[in-house]
Symmetry: C2
Subunit: 246 residues, 2 copies
């Protein structure tokens, strides 16, 4: 049975980290909210799982994955579940745990990127918290972004064999879901904060090489060129507000 | 060999979620940063793992756990690793994944509690972002706290058998690490935001019963009465600033 991915239909957001894994592995999946409500898909199908009291183990939020009777929320937990089934993580328990740990740290950074434009409340418009966003973004560019990027670069530096690889890997020697997530993360940062990203990435050659190399994987290249790939936009997590960049 | 827990010595913070699991299981562990630097413990031992380039897989931040050659960062990942070894999670993969998913959602709430007093930057004092904190806290009390609490209550309601249990369980029929984390979360919320917490907990009888019942477990009761249990304080994540409560 096909995997069902449930996520907001108009933004890449957190759903894209799962979508990239499904696409890179050539997995059979349904992008539920982008389907037709007449066929039991669309937003109502997602809202049912989130809101109906008959669901025994309701996710707190999307994205979530439905695989038969299993419902899994939390982006990193979805990838922890999917990656062994898709061949996108090494076999050893220690490697899988390390991959998950890196993924959770990526999730923390993604959350901070969201807080950039919503430092006060997700329930308010950006325009209603712009003064606070300007302050938060200045700190993010100065303190947080360099800290996360230098950690990601250190992970790449310390992964044995990366000096000899054309495309470095985050965990192990082969493409893993963590590489896909790092690709998406760097892509989003370059969209949202082009100036600040260019500055920090100058000091991160392995991360830059990973971002350039990952999308050359055959299936991923086809996906990225397709209509299934959603562009970044100002409804999502990675938003380009020029006043927040410098 | 004893587990090594690495975390800031003066606050319960995120380290407490791991400590509660170790204590409830009666595990052999060393609380590294609270030990003596003369004996190779204390803060320098933690900073070595975080900062030394010889560490092959460095955590991004504390808490982290060292178990022989395995180093695990990210609170929820530490508990994912530890719980089966400590007998604090059901056996079935689906149950473990659900427990992890709930734990990751608790982690999201803990992060929002931190952002309450640091909405602009962790690198600034609370006093330097108090105006923003007042605004953020108002939204948190009105929107976010009730949403998280009603989800936690729904998880308890939908866990079969909880009506008949004196102390309800988050996952399965026996005490799990998720119960311990929820206990700590409710404890922290009651400390930080006593008025807002009282209001939302009135509508969450199972959550209230869990919080009251968990600390009666024998080992946990001994731990909570010991000097090993750190009190909440205004250096930690759960801080009581009366102006943020209402």
């Amino acid at each position: 049975m096909a995997y069902q991915l449930h996520y907001w239909p108009g933004i890449p957001g957190r759903g894209e980290f799962v979508r990239l894994a499904l696409e890179a592995a050539g997995a059979d999946y349904v992008d539920v909210c982008r389907g037709d409500a007449q066929q039991g898909l669309g937003l109502p199908a997602m809202l049912h799982v989130l809101q109906d009291a008959s669901v025994p183990r309701p996710p707190f939020a999307c994205p979530f994955l439905v695989d038969g009777r299993t419902v899994i929320g939390q982006t990193a937990a979805i990838l922890l579940y999917l990656a062994p089934r898709l061949g996108l993580v090494p076999q050893r328990e220690a490697d899988r745990l390390w991959a998950h740990q890196v993924q959770l740290t990526i999730a923390d950074l993604v959350q901070e990127v969201h807080e950039l434009h919503h430092p006060i409340a997700s329930s308010l418009y950006y325009e209603d918290q712009k003064a606070e966003a300007l302050r938060r973004a200045a700190d993010f560019r100065r303190e947080r972004l360099p800290k996360f990027v230098s950690w990601l670069e250190a992970v790449l530096q310390r992964n044995p064999g990366n000096d000899a690889r054309e495309v470095p890997r985050m965990v192990g020697a082969r493409l893993s879901y963590v590489d896909l997530s790092v690709f998406q993360l760097v892509d989003g940062l370059r969209y949202a904060l082009p100036k600040a990203s260019r500055r920090v990435l100058k000091k991160a050659p392995l991360l830059t090489a990973l971002h350039a190399g990952v999308p050359r994987q055959r299936r991923l290249a086809a996906y990225l060129a397709s209509g299934r790939r959603l562009p970044f936009n100002e409804e999502g997590i990675f938003r380009h507000y020029p006043e927040l960049d410098a």
